[in-house]
Amino acid sequence: MNISSAHQKVIDDLKNQYPDDILEVTGYQGDILVRTSVNKIHDICRRLYDEHRFIYLVDIFGTDRFTSEERFEVIYNIVSLRDQLRLFLKVRCEEEDPHVQTVTDIWKAANWQERQTYDMFGVIFDDHPDLRRVYLPEDFEYYPLRKEFPLLGIPGSIELPSTTPDTED
C-alpha cells in the first residue's frame, strides 16, 4: 500500500488527535480508506474540514456486510480541493438500532445522502434536520438494500394503481 506524503500527513494528524479512534488504514487501487470509531466520526469530520480543507463531500453511502457484529458500514467520500486529496472514511454500526451522528452541519450536501442511506439501510443519523425517505414511499416498512430483502420486493408492499376507472359522480 502506497500512501502519499500528503495523505500520510493527514492520517498522522488524525492519529495524534484521536489515537483511540483511528481503527484501521487501508488502501485499494490508490484510494485511502480510514476506518474510525462511530462515536467520533463527527469530530473527525469537523477536524478534516477545518484543518485540512476537505470541503467537498462527494458521497455518503452504506454497505451491508451481513456479519453478526458491526453489520452496517457508512462510508464518506471526501475531497480536499486545496491539497487535491481524496479520502474515504468508514464507520461501522450494529444491526440492532444503528446510529451515526449526522454531518449535515459540516457539509450541507450530506442531507440527501444521509437520507438515502437511511432509506436503503435503515441507518439512523442522529440530529439530522429532516430524516425522511427519499425514493420509497413514506409508509414503506422495509429497507431494500439490506441483504435479507428479497430481490423482487415484498408483494403488495408498494401499491399499484386501481384498475377500475374512477366513476363520475
Binding site: L136, I158, E159
Partner: protein, 160 residues
C-alpha cells in the same frame, strides 16, 4: 380516379361495423408513453424512414384526450405506474394498449423491487413486442396486429 368511375351508376353495400372499423383502424393515433430507450425506437417508428403515416398513425398526440393507442415504451416503476394509469383512464374509449419491449412486457432486465414486472399488472395490454429495444419494424407489426384486432371488433352493433 374516384370510386364513381368504377361503380358507374351502381352502389356498394357494407355493414356499419365494417365501415367504422375501417375508419378507426386507419386512424389509430398513438399516445407516446416514452419511459426509457424504447422511446427512441418509437420516435424512429414515427419518423420518415419507417413512416408510420402509411398506416395512419403518424399523429402522435401528447394529450390523452385525443389518442387511441397507448404505447408504453420502457420500464415502469411503481411510482410511474400511477401516472400511467391516470393517463390511460383519461383516454376516451375505444382505446388500445401496446407494451413495447421486454421491460414493459415483463420487467425485462429490471428484476427488482422498484419496477413493475410487466405493465399488464395494471393496464389491459393488447399487444406485446419483444426485443430490447425492439426495432421500429416490430412496432409497426404490433400496430398492424392492433389494426387487425380493430377490424374484427363489434364497434356499433353489440353482439347479442
Amino acid at each position: 380516379m374516384g370510386l364513381e368511375s368504377a361503380l358507374g351508376e351502381g352502389y356498394l353495400t357494407t355493414r356499419v361495423d365494417s365501415l367504422v372499423n375501417w375508419a378507426r383502424s386507419n386512424a389509430v393515433w398513438p399516445m407516446p408513453m416514452g419511459l426509457a430507450c424504447c422511446a427512441i425506437e418509437m420516435m424512429a417508428f414515427a419518423g420518415p424512414r419507417y413512416d408510420v403515416s402509411r398506416f395512419g398513425s403518424e399523429v402522435f398526440r401528447f394529450s390523452p384526450r385525443q389518442s387511441d393507442l397507448m404505447i408504453v415504451a420502457g420500464w415502469c416503476t411503481y411510482k410511474m405506474s400511477h401516472a400511467i394509469r391516470r393517463i390511460w383512464d383519461q383516454m376516451p374509449d375505444p382505446k388500445w394498449c401496446v407494451a413495447m419491449g421486454a421491460c414493459a412486457s415483463t420487467g425485462g432486465m429490471h428484476r427488482c423491487y422498484g419496477v413493475v414486472q410487466g405493465v399488464d399488472n395494471f393496464l389491459p395490454v393488447d399487444a406485446y413486442i419483444s426485443g430490447c429495444p425492439p426495432r421500429p419494424d416490430a412496432v409497426i407489426n404490433a400496430l398492424m396486429k392492433i389494426q387487425n384486432k380493430i377490424k374484427t371488433e363489434h364497434s356499433v352493433l353489440l353482439d347479442t
